[in-house]
């Protein structure tokens, strides 16, 4: 349905983003989706709206490549990004064997034997940078650096493509864009081995 037959995508990647209302999960999933489109991939996402956005559990699904269904099934996600550590307990079911968990927490959360887990204290980093509401971008930057972005075996897009997507979204140049960029770079710096 959404697959352009002329240029069948080589990448198929499924990502679940989890957090609570107000943390910017929706923003993050749209940013990633826009980066995917700019990279020439078809994309499908599914978002949480309504009452849950008032501080309740919020989850976004993101599928890059030729898919029809907007939902990631349990056991299928290549990547799980968690902005609220307590959510790992009930969202780790989405991860595939060999999948990767990146969580906003001071130390890695145990997510079972067949999962690679990475942690970054994105809240503390964002606060220290004077941008407490940009923990989402710190986490994303960290994940891109730690797992690799735009490379084989890594996330479908690179840090540079996220920067471009941010600039399109926030009209590159303003103070909001500058704050977003520095949060992303802070995460990248901490994620680089």
């Amino acid at each position: 349905m959404n697959v352009d037959a002329g240029k069948l995508p080589l990448i198929r990647q499924q990502v679940v983003l989890s957090g609570v209302g107000g943390q910017g999960i929706l923003f993050l999933s749209r940013l990633l989706a826009e980066a995917a489109i700019a990279g020439g991939f078809p994309v499908l996402t599914s978002e949480t709206h309504g009452m849950a956005q008032r501080g309740g559990v919020v989850v976004s699904h993101l599928k890059v490549g030729g898919f029809d269904s907007p939902l990631v099934r349990t056991g299928r996600a290549d990547l799980l990004l968690v902005l609220k550590e307590e959510n790992v307990a009930f969202h780790r079911e989405f991860l595939a064997d060999g999948g990767t968990l990146v969580v906003n927490a001071p130390v890695p959360t145990d997510a079972g034997p067949r999962v690679r887990a990475h942690a970054v204290d994105a809240d503390a980093l964002a606060l220290s940078a004077g941008a407490p509401h940009a923990a989402n971008l710190v986490l994303l930057g960290f994940a891109l650096a730690r797992i690799g972005g735009g490379t084989a075996g890594g996330i479908f897009c690179s840090g540079g493509e996220i920067r471009e997507a941010l600039s399109r979204r926030q009209g590159g140049g303003g103070s909001r864009f500058a704050a977003s960029l520095s949060a992303l770079d802070l995460g990248i710096a901490h994620g680089t081995w």
């Binding site: 349905m1 959404n2 609570v20 209302g21 107000g22 749209r30 989706a33 826009e34 995917a36 489109i37 700019a38 020439g40 078809p42 994309v43 499908l44 996402t45 599914s46 978002e47 949480t48 709206h49 309504g50 009452m51 849950a52 956005q53 008032r54 501080g55 309740g56 559990v57 898919f67 029809d68 269904s69 907007p70 939902l71 099934r73 349990t74 056991g75 609220k84 307590e86 959510n87 307990a89 009930f90 969202h91 079911e93 989405f94 809240d123 606060l127 407490p132 509401h133």
Partner: protein, 609 residues
């Protein structure tokens, strides 16, 4: 760079409507349909079309406005969530008889699950009752295309048409082609024909006959006929699916490798189901599995109980969302493959939603429990339904019912010779939507209760759409504004006072005064007026100061349990409360909540550590 952009389902529907020349659009906000109307206004501005776009006071009014434009020859659309369609069902059923001259689309968004609704009802059943054809998109891109198809269908047969997306279409996003467009323009022209537009019962009978003929013809309309995904094979089994259940099924057909063994059909128009398709199914297949949300609308039209399986036969769960994990199991079983036993995604669990830090509703609810500790608290639909966490919401039925339920509780107890304090809460938007008729009724019947109208000047839950009290239109333009106090008094209420609930001691005293009035003299209304904290934050409102918690905090938990501001965090190790400075708005209301006087507001800039 591609010219494809990320479009949310609701945005795609809006784009499809505007592109097809929709001239009048009206709506009342409700998840998952809320974004459609604001998006229509954005597309309108983008292509420079001349349109009337409005947030109507409720769904019934919205439908009547759009319908009327369609009998004046224009293309028009109304959008709402499924329970909104209940409110608008009266004009819908009649509009089906009378028909239209311009295209008329009713977008009713369902919420199987339900994720953010009172019910998981299926709007397609209401379409069937109304004898209105209904289209069931599987993706944002298809929803966009079907908006145009819907107008064509509506005009080809002169009937209203329903477009029924679900949450997983409305709130899915997808890359969609965003080429510039120029919508067609028409001139409004109402041709008088009172025998039709004001038909009497005798003529309605004829109109009903005519409608039945139209429905029979629509069941043969080629443009909305079911699509066979894999025509190259001729197996003995078929899966018939619609909406997002089809999207899940199509993806799973590939993954499970069953495309060569089972036929897959997408039904675009679940009602009326194409007659030739029904014959074809029954002539061709031994077993047919129907996947649809959330009622067995397709299934019931394929009338062979021995060969058709679905929600009616129990082969498919009778309630709840058809998640892809469930469809994977159903398809595996149907194909004779091993059935996977993997987990379903976690339902519930995790942090419960709560009112925002600095939300004035929290103050109102705290005050209500202080003023009427033994009271009954009927409430209504909105952010303030979360007052349930604060023990200040006892009932929630449907839009506007807080007022009628308050009256109902009084009459019921009065019969038993009892008087109870009843304090009902309703938001400003909900009050305008459905709270006024029950208030008039309560005054006339001499009901004894206090109604607190939580007036935060917005429809907050659904994304801060304007209310009739704000004087702002759907596109940000200036409109007339309704005077709430004048309206309440005009309903016959003799006690009507307005106050800021964040001034807690004064507000509690006012509520007690209102309760005294209600006990002796009938309905009292208190308008709790304070802007939504989210709106204030977005507007860059300055915090009045910084909150500190002194050594006097003895860990009694009163503020966290009874006031539940997310910025008040109980530190178990230290057995005291601390402030989460990332969340605190500095509203200062908690200062008067602490019984120990341990919470202080330091004037801005003077905070000590």
């Amino acid at each position: 760079m591609s010219d494809r952009i990320l479009m949310q389902g609701n945005d795609a529907i809006a784009r499809g409507l505007v592109e097809a020349g929709c001239a009048v659009a009206a709506s009342y906000p409700g998840t998952p349909a809320s974004e459609i109307l604001s998006s229509i206004d954005r597309w309108r501005k983008k292509c420079g079309a001349t349109m009337h776009v409005e947030w109507a006071v409720n769904e019934k009014v919205a439908l009547e406005i759009a319908y009327t434009a369609a009998i004046a020859g224009l293309r028009a659309a109304v959008s709402m969530k499924q329970v909104g369609l209940n409110v608008a069902s009266d004009p819908l059923l009649s509009a089906a008889y009378l028909g239209v001259t311009g295209g008329f689309l009713v977008v009713s968004a369902d919420d199987p699950g339900p994720h953010s609704s009172q019910t998981e009802q299926d709007s397609r059943l209401l379409a069937m009752m109304a004898k209105v054809p209904v289209l069931d998109p599987a993706s944002p891109a298809q929803a966009m295309a079907l908006a145009g198809t819907g107008f064509d269908l509506s005009e080809a047969f002169g009937v209203p048409v329903m477009l029924r997306p679900t949450t997983r279409v409305c709130h899915a996003s997808q890359d969609v082609d965003a080429a510039p467009f120029r919508p067609p323009v028409r001139e409004a022209r109402f041709v008088k024909d009172p025998a039709r537009w004001a038909a009497t019962p005798a003529y309605r009978r004829l109109l009903h006959d005519r409608l039945a003929e139209k429905i029979a013809a629509i069941a043969a309309w080629p443009a909305t006929a079911p699509i066979r995904v894999n025509p190259e094979v001729s197996p003995a089994k078929a899966v018939v699916a619609s909406g997002v259940a089809f999207a899940h099924a199509r993806e799973l057909f590939g993954e499970l490798g069953i495309s060569c063994r089972i036929a897959l059909y997408q039904v675009i128009q679940p009602y009326p189901l194409h007659a030739a398709f029904i014959d074809h199914l029954l002539e061709t297949y031994e077993e047919i599995l129907v996947l649809e949300e959330s009622a067995p609308v397709i299934e019931m039209q394929v009338a062979d109980r021995r060969r058709v399986r679905g929600r009616m036969t129990g082969a498919v769960p009778g309630t709840g969302e058809l998640l892809p994990e469930i469809i994977e199991r159903l398809l595996s079983r149907f194909a004779g493959l091993p059935v996977p036993g993997g987990a379903l995604p976690a339902q519930g669990g995790g942090r419960r939603p709560t009112l925002c830090p600095g939300c004035a509703h929290r103050s109102s609810f705290y005050a209500i429990r202080m003023a009427a500790p033994a009271g009954i608290y009927p409430s209504d639909i909105g952010c303030y339904t979360l007052g349930i966490n604060l023990g200040a919401v006892d009932t929630v039925l449907c839009m506007g019912a807080a007022v009628s339920q308050a009256a109902g509780f009084d009459y019921a107890h009065r019969l038993s010779g009892k008087q109870v304090d009843i304090v009902a809460t309703i938001g400003d938007s909900t009050f305008y939507h459905a709270g006024i008729p029950p208030l008039i009724d309560a005054v006339v019947q001499g009901a004894r209760f206090v109604l607190v109208i939580l007036d935060n000047g917005t429809t907050a839950m659904t994304g801060n759409q304007p209310t009739p009290g704000t004087g702002i239109g759907a596109g940000g333009e200036t409109t007339a504004a309704v005077d709430m106090e004048g309206l309440v008094r005009a309903c016959g209420v003799r006690f009507c006072r307005t106050a800021n609930p964040d001034r807690l001691p004064e507000f509690i005293a006012l509520l007690k005064e209102a309760l005294d009035h209600a006990r002796e003299r009938g309905v009292a209304v208190v308008i709790a007026r304070q802007p939504c904290a989210m709106v204030a934050r977005a507007a860059g409102g300055k915090a009045p100061g910084a909150i500190v918690i002194t050594e006097e905090c003895n860990g009694c938990r009163h503020c966290v349990d009874r006031f539940e501001c997310p910025a008040l965090v109980f530190d178990e190790a230290a057995n005291r409360v601390r402030i989460d400075e990332m969340l605190c708005t500095g509203c200062g209301v908690c200062v008067s909540v602490c019984p120990e006087g341990a919470i202080h507001l330091e004037p801005a800039g003077e905070k000590r550590s």
